[in-house]
C-alpha cells in the first residue's frame, strides 16, 4: 500500500498574472489588465521596428550624399517609420496599455464595460498591424505615412493597398477602445466617484475616446476612397480622372490632426497624475486641467487645415485656420502653467517617473511654442515641409507622448508587475533620454529654418553639421531606450516586491494589491476626494 505523501498547501495570493498560466488563458482573456499587457508587448515590438528604421535613416543622413541606402529604400524607410510609429505605436500607446490597465482601477470598477470588445480590439490591432507590417517590410510602401494623392492613388508602384488595409483595420481597434472607455467612464464608476472626483488621467482618456470615436471613421472613409481610386480608377482625388487632390488633404487631416491630440492628451493625463504624486499635492487648478482636455479635444477638430497653408487653399481659409490654431494653444498652455504651479510648496521627489514628468513639461513646452511658429502664416510659408516641422512634432510626439508613456510605465510598473524597477538605472536612463532627445531634434529646428526639406535622402553639404549633431543625438537616444528595456525585463526576475503602494500615492489603483487580483478589488471601493494628499499619513502607507 503506497501512502500518499502530505503536501502542505502553499498559500499564494491570487493575482491577475498567476490566476492561470496557459497561453490560451492569455490569448482568450477578457481581463482588461491582461489585455493591457498584451498591448504593451505588441506596441514595444512595433516601437523597436519603427525605431530601427529611424536609426538607418539617421545613419544615411550623417553625410550629404551617403550611399548606405538607395533613394527608394530611404523613402520606404520613412514611410515604415511613420506608419508604424503613428498608427501602431503612438495612437494606441497610452490608451491601450496604461488606459486599459488603469481606467477600471482608477474608477473602482471590476473591468471595462465590454470585455469581449476589448479583446476584439486587440485582435483587430494585431491583424491590421501584421498586414501593414507585411506590406511595409516585404516590398515596402513609399508614399509617406500621409498617403498624399494623387501620388498614393495613381503613381506609386508599391504595396499601398495592403498598408491602407492595415491602417483601416487598426482604426476599428481605436474606435472599439474609445467606445469602451466612454461607456465605462459613464456607467461603471464606483460609489462616491463623481465626475469631478475623477482622476485627471480619466478625464484625458475620456477626451481621447471622444476623438477616437468621432475622427477615426473619417480616416477609414478617406483610405477607402484612396483604395477605390487606386483599384477601380474612380476619379476622386486625381485631377486626371476629374478628382481634386486637395480634397484628400482636407479629409486626411480632419482625422490626423485630432489624432495628434489622441497621442498627446493621454500623455497629459499621465503627467497630471505623476506631478501630484511626486509633489504630494492636489493638482493646482484641477477643474481647469480637466476642462482644458475637453477644450483641446473639441478645438482640435477645427484646426486641420493648418497643415495646408501652402497647399493651395484660399487665403481666407488660411486666416481662419491660423486663428483657430492659436486658440487651441491656449488650453495646452493652461495645463503647463497648472502643472508648474502644482510644484509650488510641494514635497518634490525626483524619482524616475518625476524626471520624465518634468522632462515632459520642458519638451512639450518647446514643442508647443514652436507650434505657434507653424500656426503663424507668415512663418509657415517658409518652414512648412522642412525639418522645422519634423523637429516640432517630434518634440510633441516623442518629447511629449513617449516621455509620458515612459514615465507612466515606470510609475505603474509595480502595480502591473508587482515588482519595483531599479531606481538608479531608471534615473540614469531618463537623463540619457532627455539629453539624447534634445541633441537629436533641436538642431532640426535650425535645419528647417535654413530650408532643408523633409523626406530627402540626400541634402546640400551646408546642412551637414546639424545633421551630424542629430545623428549623434539619435545614438544616445537609442541607448536611452535600450536601457529600460533591459532593466525593466530584469526587474521581473530580480526586482523587489512592490507592495500595494510603493510610492505613497493617492488614487484607487494604489488601494488594491500589486499586481491586482483578477477582479481588481476584493471589496467594492468607495471613492473620496481624489489627490487627498492632505489627509494621507505617509508614515503608515
Amino acid at each position: 500500500m503506497a501512502s500518499i505523501p502530505y503536501i502542505p498547501e502553499y498559500q499564494v495570493r491570487e493575482t491577475y498574472l498567476n490566476a492561470r498560466y496557459s497561453i490560451a488563458s492569455w490569448l482568450l482573456t477578457k481581463d482588461h489588465k491582461r489585455i493591457a499587457v498584451l498591448y504593451i508587448l505588441s506596441i514595444t515590438l512595433f516601437f523597436i521596428i519603427g525605431g530601427s528604421a529611424a536609426v538607418i535613416m539617421r545613419l544615411q543622413l550623417l553625410t550629404p550624399h551617403s550611399s548606405l541606402v538607395e533613394a527608394e529604400t530611404y523613402n520606404k524607410l520613412f514611410t515604415l517609420h511613420g506608419i508604424v510609429m503613428v498608427f501602431f505605436f503612438l495612437v494606441p500607446s497610452i490608451p491601450a496599455t496604461l488606459g486599459n490597465f488603469l481606467v477600471p482601477l482608477m474608477i473602482g470598477a471590476r473591468d471595462l464595460a465590454f470585455p469581449k470588445l476589448n479583446l476584439a480590439s486587440w485582435y483587430l490591432f494585431i491583424l491590421g498591424g501584421s498586414l501593414a507590417l507585411t506590406a511595409l517590410i516585404l516590398g515596402g510602401v513609399d508614399t509617406g505615412w500621409t498617403f498624399y494623392t494623387p501620388y498614393s492613388s495613381t503613381f506609386s508602384n508599391t504595396n499601398v493597398i495592403f498598408a491602407i488595409c492595415g491602417v483601416f483595420i487598426a482604426g476599428f481597434s481605436s474606435i472599439f477602445t474609445g467606445l469602451n472607455f466612454i461607456v465605462t467612464i459613464h456607467k461603471m464608476r464606483c460609489p462616491g466617484m463623481t465626475w469631478f472626483r475623477l482622476p485627471l488621467f480619466i478625464w484625458s482618456m475620456y477626451a481621447t475616446s471622444i476623438i477616437f470615436v468621432l475622427a477615426t471613421p473619417v480616416l477609414a472613409i478617406t483610405l477607402a476612397l484612396v483604395a477605390l481610386e487606386r483599384i477601380l480608377g474612380v476619379g476622386i482625388f486625381d485631377p486626371n480622372l476629374g478628382g481634386d487632390p486637395i480634397l484628400f488633404q482636407h479629409l486626411f487631416w480632419f482625422y490626423s490632426h485630432p489624432a495628434v491630440y489622441i497621442m498627446i492628451l493621454p500623455g497629459m493625463g499621465v503627467i497630471s497624475e505623476l506631478i501630484p504624486a511626486y509633489s504630494r499635492k492636489r493638482p493646482f487648478g484641477y477643474a481647469f486641467i480637466a476642462m482644458a482636455s475637453l477644450a483641446i479635444a473639441i478645438l482640435g477638430f477645427l484646426v486641420w487645415a493648418h497643415h495646408m497653408f501652402v497647399a493651395g487653399i484660399s487665403i481666407y481659409g488660411g486666416l481662419v485656420f491660423s486663428i483657430l490654431s492659436f486658440l487651441v494653444a491656449i488650453p495646452s498652455g493652461v495645463k503647463v502653467f497648472n502643472w508648474t504651479a502644482t510644484l509650488y510648496k510641494g514635497s518634490i521627489a525626483l524619482d524616475t517617473p518625476m524626471l520624465y514628468a518634468l522632462g515632459f513639461i520642458g519638451l512639450f513646452t518647446i514643442g508647443g511654442l514652436t507650434g505657434l511658429f507653424l500656426a503663424t502664416l507668415g512663418i509657415d510659408m517658409h518652414v512648412h515641409d522642412t525639418y522645422f516641422v519634423i523637429a516640432h512634432f517630434h518634440y510633441i510626439m516623442v518629447g511629449g507622448a513617449v516621455m509620458a508613456y515612459m514615465g507612466g510605465l515606470h510609475f505603474w510598473w509595480p502595480k502591473i508587475t508587482g515588482k519595483l524597477y531599479p531606481e538608479r538605472w531608471g534615473r540614469l536612463a531618463a537623463v540619457i533620454l532627455f539629453i539624447g532627445f534634445n541633441l537629436t531634434f533641436f538642431p532640426q529646428f535650425i535645419l528647417g529654418y535654413l530650408g532643408m526639406p523633409r523626406r530627402y535622402y540626400a541634402y546640400a553639404p551646408e546642412f551637414q553639421v546639424y545633421n551630424v549633431m542629430s545623428t549623434a543625438g539619435a545614438t544616445i537616444l537609442a541607448l536611452g531606450y535600450v536601457l529600460p528595456l533591459i532593466y525593466l525585463l530584469g526587474s521581473l526576475r530580480w526586482g523587489k516586491d512592490a507592495g500595494s503602494n510603493p510610492f505613497k500615492a493617492a488614487g484607487l489603483e494604489w488601494q488594491t494589491t500589486s499586481p491586482p487580483p483578477p477582479d481588481n478589488f476584493d471589496q467594492t471601493p468607495i471613492a473620496g476626494e481624489p489627490y487627498n494628499y492632505h489627509e494621507m499619513d505617509f508614515a503608515n502607507v
Binding site: A71, N75, R282, S322, L327, N338, G346, Y533, A539
Partner: protein, 346 residues
C-alpha cells in the same frame, strides 16, 4: 558662409527680412515663456525637494486670478502673432500688377521654367534683381512644392490647377530651389538653382538663346494648328481682350454669373469647355485635355493674353453672332516689353 553653424539662410528677397523679423519676435516670446517656466520648475524642484520621507506639504487647490492671467496674456500674445503673420502672408499672396510672369511646370523629377520672352530652362530659374516676379506654377503629375528658402517662400504645385507665388529678388547670387512636397523616388533630386542677376545680365541671358520662341508666338502656332481660329470670333466668343475681364456665364437652368477670365479660367475652358458656358453660345467646343501638353496650354494661354481688345473696361459679354471681331490671323502683341517698367537698382 564661413562658419558651418549658420542660423539663418541668406536674405535674398525683399520679404525675407520681414519673415525673419516675425520669427525673431516669436523666438523672443517663446524664450521668455521658456525661461519663466524652466526657472520656476528648477527653483521649485530644489527649494521644495522632499526632505523627509513622511513629510506632508500644505495643500493649495488653485487660484482663479492666476488661471485668468495665464489664459489672457498668452491669448493676447498669440493674437499679435496671428495678425502679424497674416499681414506678411497676405502681402506674399498679392503680387503687384507690374510683376513679370514666369511659368514653371513641375514633373517627376524636374522643374521646367518658361520665360515669356521665349527662353526655357530646366532646374534653373534666372530672375532679375529688384523686379517683382510672379511665378505661375502647375504640375504635370503629382503634387510638388516650389520652395526658395532664401526668399522665405513656398507654394505647393498642383496637377490640374495653377498656383502662384511672387517675390522681389534683393540680393545677387545663386540660391537653392527645392521641391518640398514628397513626390516619389527622386524627390530629393528635384532641386535647382535660382540665379539672381542684374537686369542687364538678365537681358543678355534672355537674348542668349537665339532659337527661343516666346510662348505667345508658339501659342499662336498651336492655336492655328488645332483650328481654334475657325470658330473663335465666328461661332464662338472672340478671345481678343478677354484676359482679365469679367465673363458672363449661364448654366443649364438659365442662371447667370460672372467670373474673371484669369489663367485658371482659360485653362479650365480649354480642358473642360462645357463646365462654364458663355452666355449666348452653345456648347460646341471639344475638350483639349488629352491633346495639349502643359507647355502647349501655357503657350496658348499666353497667346490669348497677348490679344489685347479694344475696350478693356467694358464687361466681356461675348458679341452676338455676326462679323468676326477677331482676325483669324491675329498677331500676338506683347504688351509690356520685358524691361519697360524695370525698377532700376540704385
Amino acid at each position: 558662409m564661413d562658419s558651418p553653424f549658420k542660423l539663418f539662410p541668406p536674405q535674398a528677397a525683399e520679404q525675407s527680412a520681414q519673415v525673419d523679423h516675425l520669427t525673431l519676435f516669436l523666438i523672443a516670446v517663446s524664450v521668455s515663456f521658456m525661461l519663466v517656466i524652466f526657472a520656476a520648475i528648477i527653483y521649485f524642484a530644489v527649494k521644495y525637494r522632499r526632505r523627509s520621507d513622511n513629510e506632508r506639504p500644505p495643500q493649495i487647490s488653485g487660484s482663479i486670478a492666476l488661471e485668468i492671467t495665464w489664459t489672457i496674456i498668452p491669448l493676447l500674445l498669440t493674437m499679435v502673432m496671428f495678425a502679424w503673420g497674416a499681414k506678411v502672408f497676405v502681402a506674399a499672396h498679392h503680387p503687384p500688377d507690374d510683376a513679370m510672369e514666369i511659368f514653371v511646370i513641375g514633373k517627376q523629377w524636374m522643374w521646367k521654367v518658361q520665360h515669356l520672352e521665349g527662353r526655357r530652362e530646366i532646374n534653373m530659374l534666372h530672375v532679375p534683381l529688384g523686379r517683382p516676379v510672379k511665378v505661375i506654377l502647375t504640375s504635370q503629375d503629382v503634387i510638388h512644392d516650389f520652395a526658395i528658402p532664401a526668399f522665405r517662400i513656398k507654394q505647393d504645385v498642383l496637377p490640374g490647377m495653377y498656383t502662384t507665388e511672387w517675390f522681389v529678388p534683393s540680393q545677387l547670387g545663386e540660391f537653392h530651389l527645392f521641391c518640398d512636397q514628397y513626390c516619389g523616388a527622386k524627390h530629393a533630386e528635384m532641386i535647382g538653382t535660382v540665379v539672381v542677376c542684374t537686369p542687364a545680365e538678365y537681358e543678355r541671358w534672355l537674348a542668349g538663346d537665339l532659337s527661343a520662341v516666346p510662348p505667345a508666338i508658339a501659342g499662336k502656332k498651336v492655336f492655328t494648328l488645332y483650328g481654334c481660329n475657325t470658330c473663335h470670333g465666328q461661332y464662338a466668343p472672340t478671345l481678343a481682350g478677354l484676359y482679365g475681364r469679367p465673363v458672363d456665364l449661364i448654366d443649364e437652368h438659365g442662371n447667370h454669373r460672372t467670373v474673371i477670365a484669369d489663367e485658371s479660367y482659360l485653362r479650365e475652358s480649354i480642358l473642360y469647355p462645357n463646365l462654364k458656358l458663355v452666355t449666348g453660345y452653345p456648347n460646341r467646343m471639344p475638350s483639349y485635355k488629352s491633346t495639349l501638353s502643359e507647355e502647349q496650354l501655357l503657350d496658348v494661354i499666353e497667346y490669348i493674353k497677348s490679344l489685347s481688345g479694344a475696350a478693356q473696361t467694358a464687361p466681356y459679354l461675348g458679341p452676338p453672332l455676326g462679323p468676326a471681331t477677331q482676325p483669324s490671323n491675329a498677331e500676338p502683341k506683347i504688351e509690356n516689353p520685358p524691361f519697360a517698367n524695370y525698377r532700376t537698382n540704385q
